[in-house]
Symmetry: C2
Subunit: 304 residues, 2 copies
C-alpha cells in the first residue's frame, strides 16, 4: 500500500467518522427538544454509527468522485458518503436480528439487538434508512436533478431489486445447494448493489459522463464480488478477534460460500481474477483513479 | 357524507389500490428476471399492498392537491399517494412484530409475520421504505426541486424526528404513566407526522404557497390527533371484526390512551374540538377544500 493511499484511506475514514458522530449528536439534540427522552434509540443510533467500521463504501464514494476530477471536498459529498454507510449500517443491524442471521457479535462488539433490544434494533435500522434519503435530499452543493439521481440510485440499490432482495435470497439459500452462478447472483444483489451504487453515486456527485458512470459501475461489480469472495476466505482462515464477527459462522449455518463451491485455492484465484477485471474496467481513467486501483488491491489483500 | 365525497373517497381508494397492485405485480416480474425465485418476499409484498386498507393517507394527498387547485389526476400524483401508503404499510408490518407490539391480526387478516415469517416481514418493510423514496424520485410530471422537497418531507416524517421516534416513545410508554401532553406528543410523532406529510406533500405536488402549506400542515396536525383519539375510542367501543385488529389490545397492554386519561366522554369531546380546529385551519381555502372538510368529519365519525 502506497503512503499516499494509506493517507487517503485514513482521511476518508476520519472524515466519515466525524460526520456520522455529528449526525448522531444532532439527533440526540433534536430528541431532547421532542419533549420525551428518546433513549434507548438515541444511544443505539450513536452506538451503531460510531463503531469503528472500515467505511469501505464512503471511501469508494470519495475515490470515485476523485477519479472523475472532483477534489473530494465538501459537506455535500460527505453526506453522500454518509448516506451509503447509513444504509449499510441499517442492513447489518437488521441482518443480525434473531429472525434473520441471528448474530450476536458485530465489529467486535455486541450487535445492536444484544447491546439494546430487538425493538430498538428494528427501529434504529428503520430510522437510519429514512435519514440516508433525507441526507441526499439536503446534500449541499448539488443541483436538484443531481440529488434526485443520487436518491434513485440509492433507493434502487437498497430495495427489493438490490440489497433487500439479495438478503431474501441469502436467507432462502441456507441449507440448500446453490450453483456458483446462483451464489454470484445472490451476492451481486446483497452486497454488490450498494457497492456499485457507492461508485456511481461518487461519479454522479462529480458530474461523470455516461461512459465514466458505466466504467465505475463495472469496476464496482468486480470489486463487490471480490469483496464477498475474500469474506468467505476470511470466514475460513481468519479468527474471530481479527474479523470482529463470529468466525466460521457461514459454514456453521450451512450456507453456500465461494470456498465451499470452489475450494480455498479456487476462491483465491477467483479473487485475483476479479481484481484484474476491476483494474481493467478503469482503463479510461488517468491517475485520478489511482485510489480506486489501490482500493481494489486493498479489498483483495485485506485480512479483516 | 355527501354523495360527491363518497365518490371521491371511493375513486381515491380505487386509484391507489390499482397502483399498489401494479407496483406489486411489477416487482414480481422483476424478481423473475433476477434469476432467483424471490418467494416468499414477493408474495408478502403483494399481500401487504393489496390488503383492503382505507387508504386514508393517499386520500389526503389527493384532497390536499385539489384544495390547492390541482385536478387530482396524473401518475406522478398517484405515486406520491402510493409512497405515503407504502411508508404507512411498512410501519404497520414492523410495529406488529413480536419484538414490537406483537399483534397477530391486521386489517382482519394474519399480520405479515404470521402469514409469512419474521424475516420476510422485516425485509418486506425495509423494501417498502426504499421503494417509497424511489417512487418519489421518479415521480412523473414534477420538477426535480419538487421531487427533492417531497422526499425531504417524507424522510423527515418517517424518521427519528417523526414516525420512528413516535413508535420508540410508544414502546417505552407501555406500563408507564404518561401525562396527556406526553400522550399527544407521542401521537404527534407516531401517526401525526405522516398524516401531516400527506397533506403538505399533496400541497407541494400542486405548487402550494407557503401560507397554503402551513394551513394544510395545521389541518393535518388536528386530524392526526383526532384520528388517534377516535382509534382509542374504537379500541374500547368497537369489536374486533369491524376493526380488523384485536380490540382492547391497547388497554390490555397497559398502554396509556386518550380514553384512560380523559374518560370516554372526555375523549369524544376532544375529538369534536379537534374536528372544529381542523375545519378552522382551512379558512383561507375555497370550496376546492371541501373534500378535506368532509374528510375531517369522516375521520371523527368513522366506526372502524
Amino acid at each position: 500500500m502506497s503512503k499516499r493511499f494509506h493517507n487517503f484511506l485514513q482521511a476518508s475514514k476520519d472524515q466519515v467518522d466525524r460526520q456520522l458522530a455529528d449526525i448522531a449528536a444532532n439527533q440526540a439534540t433534536v430528541a431532547v427538544g421532542m419533549g420525551e427522552a428518546l433513549d434507548p434509540i438515541i444511544q443505539a443510533y450513536r452506538y451503531v454509527l460510531t463503531n469503528g467500521g472500515k467505511r469501505v463504501r464512503p471511501t469508494l464514494v470519495y475515490a470515485a468522485a476523485r477519479a472523475v476530477g472532483h477534489n473530494g471536498q465538501g459537506t455535500g459529498l460527505d453526506h453522500v458518503a454518509c448516506a451509503l454507510e447509513m444504509i449499510h449500517t441499517y442492513s447489518l443491524i437488521h441482518d443480525d436480528l434473531p429472525a434473520m442471521d441471528d448474530d450476536d457479535v458485530r465489529r467486535g462488539r455486541p450487535s445492536c439487538h444484544k447491546a439494546f433490544d430487538e425493538a430498538t434494533a428494528i427501529l434504529t435500522g428503520d430510522a437510519l434508512q429514512a435519514q440516508a434519503f433525507e441526507l441526499l435530499a439536503n446534500a449541499a452543493g448539488f443541483r436538484p436533478i443531481q440529488r434526485v439521481t443520487l436518491i434513485k440510485s440509492l433507493a434502487k440499490a437498497a430495495g427489493l431489486q438490490g440489497m433487500v432482495g439479495g438478503q431474501a435470497m441469502d436467507i432462502k439459500a441456507t441449507n440448500t445447494d446453490l450453483s456458483l452462478q446462483q451464489l454470484q447472483s445472490m451476492h451481486a444483489y446483497k452486497t454488490g448493489a450498494i457497492i456499485r451504487a457507492a461508485l456511481t453515486m461518487g461519479g454522479i456527485a462529480a458530474d461523470a459522463s455516461a461512459e465514466q458512470l458505466s466504467a465505475l459501475g463495472a469496476y464496482g461489480g468486480h470489486i463487490g464480488l471480490a469483496f464477498q469472495v475474500v469474506d468467505d476466505i476470511l470466514d475460513v482462515e481468519g479468527d474471530t478477534q481479527t474479523l470482529g464477527k463470529t468466525q466460521g459462522k457461514d459454514s456453521e449455518a450451512n450456507k453456500p460460500t465461494y470456498v465451499s463451491l470452489m475450494g480455498l485455492s479456487g476462491a483465491k484465484k477467483e479473487s485475483q481474477r476479479l481484481l484484474q477485471a476491476a483494474i481493467g474496467a478503469l482503463g479510461e481513467f488517468a491517475n485520478t483513479a489511482d485510489p480506486l486501483r489501490e482500493m481494489a488491491h486493498y479489498i483483495v489483500s485485506r485480512d479483516c
